[in-house]
Amino acid sequence: MNTLDDPLKVVSGLEPAALNSLAEDGYRRNRHDDLAMMAAEGHSPATDGSHRARAAQRWMFAKPRWSLAAVGLAAAAAAAVAVAALPAGHPAPVGGHPPAASPSAVTASGFLLTSAEVAARSSEAAGTYWYVKERHYDGTAAAKVGKSVGESKNKKGSYKDFGAMYASTEESWTGQRRARTIVNEDPVFTFASEADKARWESAGRPPLMTAAGPGVTKPVTSDYTMTFRWGVGSGQLTLAEVRKLPTTAAKLHKVFLLMWNREPDKAGAVGLKNPTFTQYLVAWAAQLLDGPARVGTKAALYRLLAEQPGINLVRDLTDPLGRTGVGIGDGAGDYLIIDPGSAQLIDYVAHPVQPDSTVRGVGVSEYIASGWTNHLGVAP
């Protein structure tokens, strides 16, 4: 008789042996560089206790993975980009171009092709740092107020769960080898219900986690001296590699298809159990349309998306900032929201949406501004 007294034994038996070998391998390869990075940074013990863990969607480390050379298309990269003057102020305002991508062209394919034409008419520019200002809406929970080395051992910690949401703005400057982030700007906390808020208040308003640490209400600036990448799953491109991406749909398709075929963990890369190539492309679009890709690449990406099956269109979506755009869905409930006037990506929404509605709640990312600048800390 097959009797089970403790299911934890089954879980233990499922532990892959590869975890230990991969961890050991990673430790041996990374130890020297990691400690060297710390040594180069020097040591200034944190005095404010702020938790500086910021895991932005594009922050990755200088470990070579896919490169255009690896996919054999470096020679296919276009000639030198014509460098225009940096924008004097803000990047091109949303909706500031002659409207061409009318959502009355009801098919997703039609809208995407029109967006390609609009995008292709944008001014090409370049600079040292790609700047992005974005606002995210995430779930959060009460943080621990606990003891640490040096604190009184009598001080005890406590945790509470609440249905809290945290919205904050982030700015980032990303160069080829340097970057700066400012996180936790304009933080706002809300609760799923009045009852949840009452529980939090009754508990003494314990500090809620933010991008800058528990209960931190001020922005935190972090500087990095490493290479950051844009990408999905194993496919990770440096700023220079993003700039070299092809400007035709056919060649861009070849690049992404090669990365897709080489991706060892497609489900993990896209976040779906059985993702399609279309969904993989939409994930890339979320990275590149608000990224430092050339105008031609963005236009080509729109044309490539227009050719894909399984994409749906949802009209008249308004974001929390009051901007209205067209939703392009990947068939699994995630949406890019695109301004039809400029073909700029203005939002990413990780939940289903309804036409003629306002998108809100956990899983919304608003892209407020982006562009090139030559100075860290200075917006375009």
Binding site: N2, L4, D5, P7, L8, K9, V10, V11, S12, G13, P16, A17, L19, L22, A23, E24, G26, Y27, N30, R31, L35, M38, H43, G49, H51, R52, A53, A55, Q57, W59, M60, F61, K63, D138, G139, A141, A142, K144, S148, V149, G150, Y159, D161, M165, M209, P214, S234, P264, D265, G268, A269, G271, L272, K273, A283, A286, Q287, A350, G363, S365
Partner: protein, 186 residues
């Protein structure tokens, strides 16, 4: 030992593999290594003001980073797909849990039928060797809440395994349910 980096290297040497093992459970190798390295860089910036023992705090930092990394496309993670991807033929066809023997595929199916929170609770106390208090710190809930979560996860897994045992022809389980905002950890 007065040099802070030398002292911190001891923390790194002791816990890096633990953090990387945790990250590998949730992300492909390159991303997992980046998360592990960034976790220790953050710890270095706070050192020596990191909690003692540091492992639950380190895993909590990595967990937060992994959730935000997933937030790039703001999706739920197929945790058992990662486990399946890491499982090699050498891991065996059968899981032997004392008097209970089950095919690895059936056991994975049973695990896949649970919520992401359930799987996380079960793997934190088994694969990562944390006690309930430490695991509660990682996920950002009270010890009592975690103990209840673990107990329910064990019950649900037991039911799923026994159901599979009685009906080996049972099809693949339903996919994960995303955690609700009210239960999302730090």
């Amino acid at each position: 030992m007065d040099d802070p980096l030398e002292r911190f290297a001891g923390v790194y040497d002791t816990y890096y593999r633990n953090v990387l093992r945790y990250a590998l459970q949730h992300a492909e190798q390159g991303t997992a290594e980046d998360v592990a390295s960034e976790t220790f860089l953050i710890a270095w910036r706070r050192f020596p003001a990191i909690p003692e023992p540091p492992l639950p705090w380190l895993l909590g930092v990595a967990r937060n980073m992994l959730r935000k990394q997933a937030g790039a496309v703001q999706r739920r993670r197929a945790l058992t797909d990662r486990i399946a991807a890491l499982t090699a033929r050498a891991d065996g066809f059968v899981v032997d849990a004392g008097d209970f023997v089950v095919e690895r595929a059936a056991a994975l199916d049973a695990l896949a039928s649970l919520s992401e929170h359930d799987v996380e609770a079960l793997t934190l106390v088994t694969w990562h060797g944390l006690n309930p208090a430490q695991a509660a710190e990682v996920v950002g809930c009270s010890v009592r809440a975690f103990t209840v979560r673990l107990s329910r996860a064990r019950q649900r897994l037991t039911k799923a395994l026994q159901s599979a045992d009685h009906d080996p022809a049972q099809g693949r389980a339903a996919p994960f349910r995303s955690p609700s905002p009210s239960t999302m950890g730090k």
